[in-house]
């Protein structure tokens, strides 16, 4: 196996898993420094600064996280609000550079976090596919080649030339999902996102994600839905105040979480 970060860790080797490590976090720390009072404007900031009264307090969103996710896994992340679940996804997707520690990600990351980010109400559905798709790092040429599939999956054939402001929220979500999943992702990040659209479309989305799993996509999933974790995930981690409180087979981690 071609592994640029060195040999696989002993823990993984001992399990006899010949799979590649897709995501590896080593001692990852994300520390926010927030001023204790809200300094909304530069004027306020400058005055306080002159009075030497800007006091910062540290907040550790992630506090020394070690984690390895293997190729093809669906890995669940559970925990209360503010435990650092979304921060963990941000570190993997490169949105946040960790304050300390190391993040290693092998493969292209597709975030299924914010469907239709950057959509513009005045542009048509087709124009928005181009805008949203390039925001996700696709090239115009690739998007044009997949345009028919995207429109087809979103079931928006009749409306694709209409401005987005005329769409219902369900239609917008469908279009966003169709663009985000137009390509088989190597790594998929899912954050409480599939509560959109009607039942029929929800089933279609789940079917597509199932398809990805069979084809080898690695999925990192954040949700409060324990049922979904139990049925979908191979392993899971429970985050508590930025630390891993439990890590292992999904059923066991959920049991620990519920017992607490």
């Amino acid at each position: 196996m071609n592994s640029p970060t060195g040999s696989e860790s002993p823990a993984v080797a001992a399990l006899g898993l010949a799979q590649a490590v897709t995501i590896r976090l080593q001692g990852v720390i994300v520390r926010y420094q927030a001023p204790q009072e809200r300094l909304g404007t530069f004027k306020e900031y400058a005055i306080r600064r002159l009075q030497r009264r800007v006091v910062y307090s540290d907040f550790f969103a992630l506090d020394a996280i070690d984690l390895e996710v293997l190729r093809g896994e669906i890995f669940g992340i559970i925990g209360r609000n503010g435990a650092g679940k979304s921060t963990l996804l941000k570190v993997v997707s490169r949105v946040l550079v960790p304050t300390a520690g190391r993040v290693y990600v092998r493969g292209r990351v597709s975030p299924l976090l914010e469907l239709g980010a950057g959509f513009h109400p005045e542009l048509t559905g087709r124009e928005n596919v181009m805008l949203n798709g390039t925001l996700l790092g696709r090239s115009s040429r690739d998007l044009e080649a997949r345009m028919d599939d995207i429109i087809d999956f979103a079931e928006l054939d009749a409306f694709i030339e209409a401005p987005l402001r005329t769409y219902s929220s369900g239609m917008v979500a469908r279009l966003g999902f169709a663009v985000a999943t137009a390509w088989q992702p190597e790594i998929l990040l899912v954050d409480e996102v599939l509560a959109v659209g009607d039942e029929a479309f929800k089933r279609k989305c789940q079917a597509r994600m199932q398809e990805f799993r069979l084809a080898g996509t690695t999925t990192l999933m954040v949700t409060h839905d324990m049922g979904a974790i139990e049925t979908l995930c191979t392993r899971a981690a429970w985050l508590q105040r930025g630390r891993i409180a439990a890590l292992g087979p999904a059923a066991q981690v959920i049991a620990d979480y519920r017992a607490a």
Binding site: N2, P4, G40, F42, R106, E122, L123, T134
Partner: protein, 279 residues
């Protein structure tokens, strides 16, 4: 950072093996060039979609401003031959500068909510603001040339120098836009203060008035400490005077533009990783 597996390129991200951010951003921008195009297209298209006169507004805007200012000031500055053309030269360059630097800030504030959720080059929004400005500048050159012809000034070969003027002005504006938007992302009032500063800067620059009304004793310093004076001259020389800029003027303008761009790029990218740490 590319690995090779089964003949397919695999992206590898290692937070400890990143190059300098200033360089990584440049590479990212090349990779995301289609995004820049789409952002510019969005700005241009969405601005005109719901207005009846469409794209004509970009041309009528400077024209209208020129007419108002000409009515007000033409008598005062009777000594300036072809005053409407003199005025419009400076105005077109100034509008580009003030619009792109302001847009860079608003785009960055808008884009920062996207940057919290999806990875993309952080410079994309500021660069696209300059791209949109270039489209508008190209359109506003049409009424400018019309006015030059109307007031009876000849169009000369020196006009072919204009692309250089545009590139230098764009580089300068991009640099200023980056310096201020890296700051405006933390404090919304920076954009407000900048608008006030722009008004003062406009009146300190000989755009509406001729440079020779400034008392001779301190005219040199007054003009030559103002970077926008060089930029305006880069437009006025070939269009209004019909001559090429002198070598010292060109050298000074190029040095200002490049230094501002490099400084803006370095300041912006050195803080780019902190943008998403803002709570």
């Amino acid at each position: 950072m590319q690995g090779e597996t089964l003949g397919v390129k695999t992206q590898i991200y290692d937070s400890l093996k990143r190059g300098p951010v200033a360089w990584e951003e440049l590479r990212g921008l090349v990779q995301y060039r289609d995004l820049i195009y789409q952002l510019v297209r969005r700005d241009v298209v969405s601005r005109y979609k719901r207005s009846a006169l469409g794209i004509a507004w970009t041309m009528l805007n400077p024209l209208g401003m020129m007419i108002v200012l000409t009515v007000v000031f033409a008598q005062l500055f009777r000594t300036v031959e072809g005053y409407p053309a003199y005025l419009l030269c400076g105005l077109v360059a100034w509008n580009f500068f003030s619009q792109t630097t302001s847009a860079a800030m608003t785009q960055m504030v808008w884009g920062s909510s996207l940057l919290q959720r999806i990875y993309m080059p952080r410079t994309a929004f500021v660069v696209s603001a300059v791209g949109t400005g270039l489209v508008n500048l190209a359109l506003s050159l049409v009424p400018l040339f019309l006015i030059v012809l109307v007031v009876g000034l000849p169009l000369r070969w020196a006009l072919f120098f204009l692309p250089v003027s545009v590139v230098l002005l764009a580089a300068f504006s991009l640099g200023v836009g980056m310096l201020f938007s890296a700051w405006a992302i933390y404090f919304p009032d920076v954009a407000e203060m900048y608008q006030v500063a722009l008004i003062a800067w406009l009146y300190l620059t000989p755009i509406i008035y001729p440079a020779d009304i400034i008392p001779e004793t301190y005219r040199f310093w007054f003009l030559h400490l103002n970077p926008m004076y060089y930029m305006i001259q880069l437009f006025r020389k070939p269009i209004y005077e019909g001559v090429l800029p002198t070598v010292p003027l060109l050298a000074a303008a190029a040095a200002i533009a490049l230094l501002t761009l490099v400084a803006g790029w370095l300041v912006f990218t050195s803080r780019a990783d902190e943008f998403t740490y803002r709570l």
